[in-house]
């Protein structure tokens, strides 16, 4: 065995890098299901000792998913920036942890971390996260800065943006508009106004796109809209002349899992080109919006790596961010508690995963937001989402999801609410995206203290939106 560790009279042996990564992962149900998890806390600790000594260069030599089988691996290795990696090349995973924490606490942290990002592979990011406490994931996450733009600017220091998510069980325009109004009156929607349609019918999607575009233009709101349908549908709608701002797609960290979503790298590039051809951005030209989530590869049976071994779900999730960054995205978010208890069992596992995902995304230079959420078959409740929301606010999360009263009446899960966004901004002193904040001021919603003024909707200029 190449990887062994001896502790308290017992030798722990691991057959490969894939196995070390899996055994070193903090406990979660999806890894138990996949068979990648450690069998005991002692084995997990031993694997972490082993992982700490793995040189970073090993990740360039030993792909966790074979190069010849998987276009995501090829993307990662062919696109690796050796120059950016050079200052880190001598480090082990344990050394990277110390470098990150020291760098994050030092002067010029954001620039130093941004310079390192192209030299880091997702597997390196995932590996180092496994050696880090929640506090450390927050500290390094908070030191990163990933700024993107379309009509608003996302990711600036001191800002926390929101996706206003006005979903409706039958895509009813009046119902969607009512939720949009509620969200705007509560200062939400600066990252995107984004609808998950209940139907994939292209005509329904087009109708929702037109509705959001009309609201945005009528009130001159510096934000962008998105109807989260399959990339191929969006490409067709762009060709048909529909008002598409952002191209959405769910993505994952293996070629096979992406095939399960019905996409590959080529179709993502096609979607990006189509949106760029419209030239609708005003402060930036980033046009892609991706969602991810730990467990998606396992859910599709597409989680096997080198040697046929199951790869842990957090490493595969980090690989999804490598897919995202190849398309210069405007927004990326993990939907961390959505997938269910078979992948993240309870509040503790969801909280940990949310912090890992945010850290790994930002480390790789991805504009990371988080859908802080849970389903009703998981062992979690609103106390857990409050905790994760508060931690992510401290960690500098770029944006969160906001739905009326935390209740997504179409998808049947609980995310953060408009009120939650105001709470997170108030306790942290963070503000909306600058362009959106100026708009809130113009329409009389911005209070002197930077918060959102309570207004009578019947008297607001926005009331005719419904």
């Amino acid at each position: 065995m190449r990887y062994t560790h001896r502790a308290r009279g017992r030798t722990y042996a691991f057959s490969s890098l894939v196995e070390v990564l899996g055994r070193a992962s903090p406990l979660r149900s999806g890894d138990v299901l996949a068979g990648s998890a450690a069998e005991s806390g002692a084995e997990r600790a031993a694997a972490q000792w082993v992982l700490a000594d793995v040189p970073l260069t090993t990740f360039l030599e030993e792909p966790v998913v074979p190069y010849e089988d998987d276009e995501v691996t090829r993307l990662i290795l062919d696109g690796h920036d050796a120059l950016a990696f050079a200052p880190l090349r001598h480090l082990t995973v344990g050394g990277l942890r110390e470098w990150l924490l020291a760098t994050a606490a030092g002067p010029g942290a954001a620039a130093a971390l941004a310079a390192a990002a192209p030299g880091l592979t997702p597997e390196m990011g995932a590996a180092v996260s496994k050696l880090m406490r929640n506090q450390e994931l927050i500290a390094v996450g908070a030191a990163t800065e990933v700024v993107t733009g379309f009509r608003s600017t996302i990711g600036l220091a001191g800002r926390l943006a929101t996706r206003l998510q006005p979903n409706h069980p039958t895509d009813d325009p009046a119902g969607v508009a009512a939720a949009v109004l509620d969200g705007l009156l509560l200062g939400c929607g600066d990252a995107v106004i984004g609808i998950n349609p209940a139907s994939d019918n292209p005509e329904t999607v087009a109708r929702l796109l037109r509705l959001l575009d009309e609201v945005r233009r009528r009130y001159e709101i510096p934000t962008q809209s998105c109807v989260l349908t399959h990339v191929t549908t969006t490409i067709d709608l762009i060709a048909a002349g529909e008002p598409v701002d952002l191209v959405f797609q769910s993505i994952a960290g293996t070629q096979a899992a992406n095939a399960g979503f019905g996409v590959d790298l080529a179709v993502l590039a096609e979607g990006r080109d189509a949106a760029l051809s419209l030239g609708r951005g005003e402060v930036g030209e980033q046009v892609m919006y991706f969602e991810t989530g730990q467990g998606s590869a396992l859910s599709a049976g597409a989680h096997h790596g080198t040697g046929g071994l199951p790869v842990d779900q957090q490493t595969l999730e980090a690989r999804a961010y490598a897919v995202a960054r190849a398309f210069d995205p405007f927004l990326v978010n993990t939907v961390v508690g959505f997938i269910g208890p078979e992948y993240l069992y309870d509040g503790k596992q969801i909280i940990r995963a949310g912090l890992e995902d945010h850290f790994c995304g930002k480390l790789l230079g991805v504009p990371m937001g988080v859908d802080v959420c849970y389903t009703n078959h998981a062992e979690a409740d609103s106390d857990d989402t409050d905790t994760l929301l508060t931690l992510l606010t401290a960690a500098g999360c770029s944006f969160i999801i906001a739905v009326p009263g935390s209740d997504d009446v179409m998808l049947g899960y609980q995310s953060t609410s408009f009120h939650d966004a105001l709470y997170a901004r108030r306790i942290s002193g963070k503000r909306p995206a600058p362009e959106f904040e100026a708009w809130l001021d113009r329409v009389g919603l911005l209070a002197d203290d930077g918060g959102i003024r309570p207004v009578d909707p019947a008297l607001s200029v926005l009331r005719e939106l419904v």
Partner: protein
């Protein structure tokens, strides 16, 4: 202010227009949320009343008597943490005449209530919309996930599987039914090869007749295309 939002609530079951005390909703809204969460968690564990469902299906003209099966997940707790077991049959299927056009699987999924309330209504509306279709006997499956339909269809060599499954209970809706259509189903079929009609739960969600029309149009489209999934987009084929 309350009148303003009350009028809008006619258009959406969403929790719009909540009060603000500081940045938090009111006490009543807080406790309504807690109550709804408790009810949704209970709904996950509600068992399917199989004999009542069998009786409901018996009243649909022309539908064969259902075959009742169980997944390999022995109980709800296992079902929740072992998706692999919920996708497989516990026992081999009884034999049926092979080569039907369509097999319908009624799977409890995460909401038995949804299947109990809406599955027979959808099927009753769907049957007359698919003349000339050879239906296999419907299958009622407990502790079952969508992919269990692949095993059923493969065993009976059916060309298409329609799985009517209880979707995860939300705070506002605990009886939402999803319908998944798969062409040439086989174990290991990826989700991108299915089409889904979700949120079937009148009065707030899709009604049974609308859902049935959408499903029927997908079935027609699947026959033309000899495929389901992202290549098949509802509405597109009728235009051509």
């Amino acid at each position: 202010m309350s009148d303003f939002w009350a009028a809008l609530r006619a258009h959406t079951p969403a929790r719009i227009g909540q009060q603000r005390f500081g940045e938090a909703p009111g006490t009543r809204e807080r406790l309504e949320f807690v109550t709804a969460h408790a009810a949704a968690r209970d709904a996950v564990h509600e068992p399917l009343d199989v004999s009542a469902l069998v009786a409901d299906l018996a009243s649909i003209p022309g539908l064969a008597a259902p075959v009742v099966v169980a997944s390999a997940a022995p109980d709800r707790a296992t079902y929740l943490t072992r998706p692999d077991l919920g996708r497989r049959l516990r026992d081999p299927l009884p034999s049926a005449e092979p080569g039907a056009d369509l097999v319908v699987v009624l799977a409890d999924g995460l909401s038995a209530t949804a299947v109990q309330r809406h599955a027979h209504g959808v099927l009753r509306a769907l049957r007359p919309l698919l003349p000339g279709t050879r239906w296999a006997p419907p299958v009622i499956a407990t502790q079952a996930r969508v992919a269990l339909g692949d095993h059923v269809a493969a065993a009976w060599r059916a060309r298409m599987a329609l799985v009517l499954v209880g979707e995860r209970p939300g705070l506002t809706t605990a009886d939402s039914l999803g319908a998944y259509l798969t062409w040439a189903p086989h174990p290991g079929t990826p989700d991108s090869a299915r089409n889904c009609v979700s949120n079937i739960h009148p009065p707030h969600g899709l009604d049974h007749e609308t859902a049935a029309r959408t499903i029927a149009s997908l079935v027609h489209g699947a026959r033309q295309l000899r495929a389901t999934g992202i290549a098949l987009k509802e509405g597109r084929l009728e235009l051509g």
